[in-house]
């Protein structure tokens, strides 16, 4: 099967890769590029563990072909912190104990950051609906919602 050559930008870095026509962006990230921070929980777009951004839009990377990344900017969990400096939402997840096992955490952080990039004044209901595409089986979401609300409050200087 012939491979497709793709040029894209991942977390700000120009990246080229070859992938099969059937391979998802998630396969490419994990199996070709070694970026295993993005997780596979279902492969059918139901759990959100594989959340990435494509040109700033929140996407399940298991539902997008690797070849479709051509010319787009991809954001993954590995790009949420800037070097050693955690993004405020990462810090708040730790402060609020908003994770237990941690498998869903990368997806939640990518999704939460995408929300906070849009608004710093989300209501609890907005946070809950924005994150409804991300499954967490450990926490019951309470501490996750608090962490996101608290991040928003900090970022707007409240």
């Amino acid at each position: 099967m012939s491979q497709i050559h793709v040029t894209t930008k991942i977390n700000g870095d120009e990246t080229e890769f070859l992938c099969g026509p059937e391979e998802t962006l998630l396969d490419v990230l994990r199996d070709h590029l070694g970026m295993t921070g993005t997780k596979e929980g279902c492969g059918t777009g139901d759990c959100g563990a594989c959340s990435v951004t494509v040109d700033g839009r929140l996407v399940c990377s298991c539902l997008m072909l690797g070849a479709e990344a051509e010319g787009h900017e991809i954001g993954t969990i590995e790009g949420v912190a800037k070097g050693d400096e955690l993004h405020p939402v990462q810090k708040k997840f730790l402060d609020h104990a908003a994770l237990q096992c941690g498998i869903c955490t990368p997806g939640f952080l990518v999704a939460a950051k995408a929300l906070l990039d849009r608004t710093l004044e989300p209501t609890e209901e907005e946070v809950r609906y924005w994150l409804a595409g991300n499954l967490c089986r450990c926490t019951g979401y309470d501490k996750i919602v608090r962490a996101v609300m608290d991040t928003a409050a900090e970022l707007r200087g409240a």
Binding site: M1, G20, E22, R30, M35, T36, G37, T38, K39, E40, G41, C42, G43, T44, D46, C47, A49, T76, I77, E78, V80, A81, L86, Q90, F93, L94, D95, H96, A97, L99, Q100, C101, G102, I103, C104, T105, P106, L109, E125, V127, R128, Y129, L131, A132, G133, N134, L135, C136, R137, C138, T139, G140, Y141, D142, K143, I144, V145, R146
Partner: protein, 745 residues
Amino acid sequence: MALDDRFHNRDFKVVGNRVTRPDGIDKVTGRARFGADMTAPGMLIAKVLRSPHAHARINGIDTSKAEALPGVKAVVTYADFASAHAPDDDNLVNCMAKDKALYDGHAVAAVAAISTAVARKALKLIEVDYEVLPHVTDVDEAMKPDAPVLHEDAQDESVPAGTPKNVVRRYEFGHGDVDAGFAQADKVIERSFRTEAAHQGYIEPHACLASYGSDGRADLWCCTQGQYAVRAMCAGMLGMQASDLRVTASEIGGGFGGKTTVFIEPVALALSRKAGKPVKLVMERSEVFRASGPTASTSIDCKIGMTKDGRITAGRAELRYQGGAFPGSPVEFGAMSGFAPYDLENVQAIGWDVVTNRPKQAAYRAPGAPMAAYAVESVIDELCQELGLDPLEVRIRNCAHEGTLSPYGVTYPKIGLEETLKAVQSHPNWTAPLGPNQGRGVACGFWFNFGGNTCVSLNIDEDGTVSLSTGNPDIGGSRASMSQMCAEELGIPYDRVRCSIADTSLLGYNDVTDGSRVTFAVGLATIKAAQDAIKKMCGRAAAIWGIPEDAVEWEDGCAKPAGPNAGEHPPMSLAEIAAVSSQTGGPIAGHYECNADGAGVSFATHLVDVEIDPETGFTKVLRYLVAQDAGKAVNPDYVEGQFQGGAVQGIGWSLNEEYIYGEDGRLQNAGFLDYRIPVASDLPMIDTVIVEVPNPGHPYGVRGVGETSIVPPLAAISNAVSHAIGKRMTQIPMSPPRIVEALEG
């Protein structure tokens, strides 16, 4: 220094603080490595062929075409295990079907190939000659005399002669005379209940990487709740010595009991042995649903008698649990636990373990208890309703205390059930006003908790930090709690301790991360290992000072001279003793191993308000409160997290989650779209009250907290829904169609 295990009251410096977990940065940056995140040079990819039939005889498997496909390096079937394993190993036959496929999804063969695409193609080339047999997936149907029989010889002597063969075990617990008790009652209610099977729903599918060397030794990396149990099971199935198999537990993406056994690990090892290369095997989500272990579905009759003033005179339950295609449903725990919150003179519980054509059940958080509590707590609620009594007052009147004889024969030591009931009674949620179509439910829950085999080592590093090695995968922040207890005992700051999870070559056998045992048992062993190191450090200081060892005591992280003959010496800190250790006898380590006892039973009371949409039957959870006895909360953030997570799993099970089988015996909802677990927008905040009644069996008073929180929700929500709609609900989950049916019925 106190040398006994018993609780002594003390002022804690580190324990009880909301510290940040040591693996936190890795988990929020994507650096943490879970089961599927590992690779090896030359690695092959494996896929499993699974039965499309619920019940079928396997007359033959032809793998020749698959083996001939370019890129295929190995194909295995049951025959590849046959020479090594012990006969009648249910776990092996569950991992790879022997002469019959026993459920939809049962593994029949597996392939290792150079890529996923080749492995998938090879699966299609394997020819299995199935003879389809009649099947049964319902627990009550499976108990009937004319039901299709799964195993001719699985029934044991606990079952009365002549009982149909799918009924494989019988259990009975209780004391007193229930008939005499019912005769004293002013009101007796008997109801029949059903609960459907739920899956643990961990977000990380089972995953492993096996590497079997030509010297007969192997390494296995996998997501598991217990690397030692995986080693024992896999070594047995592959005919290996335990010491020839090193199992390393990856970070684990949830388990809830479902990762206490093996499904794919022996298969990956067998493929690696045959191919001579490392093999990675990761389940797809549909395989997790079809072929890992959900919990049992049940059918329960429950009868309780009560006096007009709210005294329970007798309770009786008959519980039927199907645990899939092999013996081992958790009905024994159900029969032991249902009435366990109450001080009863007359109680009897009978459990029947039943096999059906479903996947072999695995433990799910307090296995067997939520269903039994659902039946008991529902009948108590209905009695309160009928007699016009306050459901909290009735529970306070009947609840178990220190000295109560439990229905399963144990007399309780100090417990905190009444404290949880009173915590709910004084919480604002108890008096919050309710509107139309709203209802309030309360229920109690119990779990045994466990101690078990535990082995811990710690090294006092030369710079005065401490490396702690434990043998239990950290599934929800336990490295933080272990480090806290270690730091507490040694008298040093939390950030000087680093806790690592050892592979199987480094420590003695540790039981799996189950039974809410880790914070209790591994914590106990950690404290003891720290005491062992303290004794040695006191000895080193004594040698330096030239005084007897017993003239040195440990206080605030320092050795100090003590007693009349000790002399005047400035205290030596842990770091100072460590710095000169090479001159005083070499490195300093502490160690402890035990089969921990005294886990301390656990109780909780939950309170929930719901609102029903009468048109659609949809249930909205308005408020939820968990009050549970933690003994001593080592890290309150993560104790609350256990309360909240268990409650929400219970909410999902109560309202939505169920295994749905078609007439053909196939699972119809093997994905997160159709098996819908709660999402953030389904829920309110989950309020918590941590009750602390110290466990007399632990030096810091710790009780396990992980499981009890899933026990009360089924009943609490069912009671709330029943009040909201004015009809008694008797089946879980109360999905919208069932509520509409009840409203119209």
